[in-house]
């Protein structure tokens, strides 16, 4: 027995002493731990999940882009296109492409043919998850090998913004896509600073530096994204120096704890997701505006932010996320925290003792704000009963219109359109064939939203959007709560190469300038 015990201990020590360098040891590999179980696909016309977007940000370019670390429609700059011209009616775009841009894995030079192929694919409803964004495209033609012309069927506000490397704007290699076929999503070929190297399901994606990257050879040898949905393990691996960057949780206490660790920098960045409660007017008693107003008056955002964390959450008073083009946060009809008024409104509507039962995603980002609301509603005499379900079930259930109140946390392209249309246009009402995410069944701003997206004059367009937002707030069909920013921890020797204020990719972007010192 003693011999057996000693043998086991000896074997353990031998194995512990065995050198087993991880892949890429000795090279400048950036190791990132993400809070996802896996990617769905790295096909840029299909990838919708958080990790898909985060990883594709380093593989692909678009014709134009936001400067790294920024999300600002006024700061769009050249990416694969050197320059462009837009016709006065905003329907014709002519792009002059950079010369000498090389695709990964020797797939040759990027030309007009690849741009045409990519944009047509992005607009194909059978191949693209983002075809709606590109449905205005009438023709895409090559004027020569390095010049592409896009004709739109009708004017689209900031169509240029659709051509950034995000949600279908990425340019892929035509030859690679045709050769690789349906396996392209697991073998993507782009022009970005890092080329796809390998994928292990539920484990990792490894990218390698693209030595011919047109902005210069990356300083890193590569990037390894590890799928580690367990926060404790991510944090332990970061603490032990096995990871350089980790995705955190959107909780103040986590941020505070990580700030106390040595050699650690916290990146908290936007544009953030808007947490908003939509009130379903198609269900009684929410068809009564007094009840909806009572719910809005019962919400104390200050208390909510104090619990969620000031470093991460900012109150959002309008129906659009803060900072979106066309959005307004001041001067809208508002509902200040006023429990007495809430009780009075409920009494007037004969809804004292109102009980509301809802299904809710069991993710903590949903449960925490709703539990705070539950307590705040209780103070005005409303009994909110929460039935937690898994996240997929929640999404399916709310699209079947089962809830009177729907908590939704979302970020979209940073402009009033498509957000307002998806959440407040009658076309988007859940339960209809064209449904998207109008959980309120609101239909009073259709005219403004339809006119805004065809209006070339920016001043008038903004006025339509303003009216639409005013109507939403007057109708009290949504209770915007707060904007929640993302939190990442980074080792202090990792230099992203830019100042990270915002990222559409929901994670830091790794560029040719990113380095480990």
């Amino acid at each position: 027995m003693r011999i057996l015990g000693r043998t086991c201990v000896l074997l353990l020590l031998v194995l512990a002493a065995m050198p087993s360098p991880p892949a890429g040891a000795g090279e400048k590999m950036l190791r990132v731990g993400v809070n996802d179980a896996d990617i769905a696909t790295l096909d840029p016309h299909r990838g919708v999940q958080t990790s898909d977007k985060h990883i594709m940000a380093s593989i692909f370019n678009g014709l134009v882009r936001f400067p790294p670390g920024e999300v600002n429609l006024d700061r769009i700059e050249p990416d694969l296109a050197e320059r462009w011209q837009i016709s006065t009616d905003g329907r014709d775009y002519t792009f002059t492409l950079r010369r000498g841009v090389r695709f990964h894995h020797n797939y040759g030079e990027m030309t007009a043919e690849d741009v045409i192929y990519s944009l047509r694919r992005a607009a194909d409803r059978n191949l693209s998850s983002f075809f709606k964004t590109f449905e205005a495209i009438d023709l895409v033609t090559a004027l020569d090998r390095y010049t592409v012309k896009i004709n739109l069927k009708y004017f689209v506000p900031s169509f240029l913004g659709s051509l950034i490397p995000y949600h279908g704007g990425q340019i892929i290699s035509k030859r690679a896509r045709e050769e690789i076929g349906d396996r392209f999503g697991a073998n993507p070929v782009g022009t970005g600073p890092f080329a796809f190297q390998r994928y292990a399901a539920k484990q990792l994606v490894e990218l390698r530096a693209h030595k011919h990257y047109f902005r210069g050879e990356p300083k890193l040898a590569g990037v390894i994204y590890r799928f580690m949905p367990d926060l404790s393990t991510r944090e332990l691996a970061f603490t032990q120096g096995e990871l350089d960057i980790i995705e955190g949780v959107k909780e103040q206490r986590w941020v505070d704890r990580m700030r106390g660790k040595p050699n650690t920098v916290m990146d908290i960045f936007g544009p953030g997701e808007l947490a908003c409660v939509f009130i379903n007017m198609a269900k009684k008693p929410f068809d009564d505006i007094r009840v909806r107003q009572a719910l809005a008056h019962a919400v104390d955002r200050g208390e909510m932010i104090a619990v969620i964390g000031k470093a991460l959450a900012t109150p959002n008073l309008g129906p659009l996320p803060l900072g979106y083009q066309g959005g307004i946060d001041q001067g809208l009809p508002g509902y200040e925290y006023n429990p007495e008024k809430a009780r009075a409104l409920l009494k007037e509507a004969k809804q004292e003792g109102l009980a509301i039962a809802i299904v809710l995603s069991q993710r903590s980002s949903f449960v925490r704000p709703m539990e705070i609301l539950q307590e705040q509603f209780r103070r005005v005499g409303i009994d909110l009963r929460i039935n937690p379900v898994d996240h997929s079930t929640y999404h399916a259930q709310i699209r079947k219109d089962v809830n009177g109140l729907v908590l939704y946390i979302a970020a979209r392209f940073p402009m009033a359109e498509p957000y307002l249309t998806e959440f407040f246009h009658s076309r988007s009402i859940v339960g209809t064939p064209t449904a998207i995410t109008n959980f309120s069944h609101f239909r009073d701003a259709d005219a403004e939203l339809d006119r805004a997206i065809r209006e070339v004059d920016e001043r008038k367009r903004f006025a339509f959007w303003r009216t639409a937002q005013e109507k939403v707030m007057e109708g009290a069909v949504a209770i915007p709560l707060y904007i929640l920013r993302a939190a990442y921890a980074r080792r202090s020797n990792v230099d992203l190469g830019y100042d990270l204020k915002d990222s559409l990719f929901l994670g830091p972007e790794y560029t040719q300038a990113t380095d480990i010192r």
């Binding site: 299909r46 709606k132 484990q203 449904a435």
Partner: protein
């Protein structure tokens, strides 16, 4: 051989029943693979079109017959979400799960059987109470919690192993090293079961007349213990190991997540969350087959331990 074939044939209805149950359960659950592919901004029209493209709009019976027919021909299709072939995805992860399961059984047996024997020999002593308490703790501690404790101890406090136990891309010794903590984690839990079963079985056997006879004949205590008592006590223990090995495969999910190992457990959770029916059904079928095989191997092991056992 006839016994073996008969057991295999008897396993087929079990696997088919499991397949039918999982087919029905997966579709009764609310959720939509189309939403996982197209994202939250997708319109109802686009979702419906993709469901048509994936064949999810067909009557359930047609889908079921198609699924069973495909399974019988070995055609499991592709993942509804990623489009990758289901078989290739599973085959990539299977070796790691088998590695972990066998290593967990080995650790559990190597720890559990000696502990059970020691507890039985020193019945009602301080050692017995201590071992029983320890084995109870092994049974009670959740796998993810013990995994974190192991990491804190052996990867942080005494950094002998890495926190990220991903064996992919490593050589043999690297893989063996990456296996130590996950196998210990599963093995410790299993050791609790085995130790308690061994102790109970040994106590029964040690009271038998043939053990007393062997002792009276002057055989050395070690010979009596290991050749006569333990061998006979092992039959119920092997049953426990066989039954538990199926559960071990299932409970490896949390261990895989915490140690960042690839494996079938992680695939199942992902497929469930994304409602990836093709991948989920095939994985469950594989688990069912592995459990049927584990039970069969357990039965065959009886013959090796006890020559009186014959298969007819």
């Amino acid at each position: 051989m006839r016994y073996f074939l008969r057991r295999i044939l008897l396993g087929i209805p079990t696997v088919l029943t499991v397949l039918t149950v999982i087919f029905v359960v997966a579709r009764v659950l609310s959720g939509d693979p189309a939403l996982a592919v197209l994202g939250e901004s997708a319109s109802a029209e686009a979702l419906a079109a993709l469901r048509r493209q994936l064949g999810l709009d067909r009557p359930l019976l047609v889908q079921y017959v198609d699924f069973i027919w495909g399974t019988l021909r070995g055609n499991f299709g592709t993942s509804l979400v990623s489009g990758a072939p289901v078989v290739a995805t599973i085959l990539n992860a299977l070796p790691y799960t088998l590695q972990l399961t066998f290593a967990g059984i080995a650790v559990g047996s190597l720890l559990g059987i000696p502990l059970g024997v020691m507890a039985a020999i020193r019945r009602n002593s301080m050692l017995d109470y201590f071992l029983r308490t320890v084995s109870l703790a092994g049974l009670s501690v959740p796998a993810f919690y013990s995994a974190l404790l192991l990491l804190l101890l052996f990867a942080v406090q005494f950094p002998l192993f890495r926190v990220i136990g991903d064996p992919s891309g490593l050589d043999f010794w690297g893989q063996a090293r990456a296996l130590v903590l996950p196998a210990l984690n599963l093995g410790i839990i299993m050791a609790g079961f085995i130790a308690r079963a061994t102790r109970a079985a040994m106590l029964d056997v040690l009271g038998e007349e043939y053990v007393r006879t062997a002792t009276a004949k002057g055989l050395r205590p070690a010979v009596v213990l290991f050749r006569h008592a333990l061998r006979n006590a092992l039959i119920p223990v092997v049953t426990i190991i066989g039954l538990y090995s199926g559960e071990l495969m299932g409970s490896s999910v949390l261990t895989e997540v915490v140690f960042n190992r690839p494996g079938l457990g992680k695939l199942i959770v992902g497929a469930m969350n994304q409602r990836d029916y093709n991948l989920l059904q095939t994985l469950i079928a594989l688990f069912a087959i592995l459990i049927v095989l584990a039970n069969l191997l357990t039965d065959l092991a009886y013959g090796l331990i006890d020559p009186r056992v014959r298969y007819e």
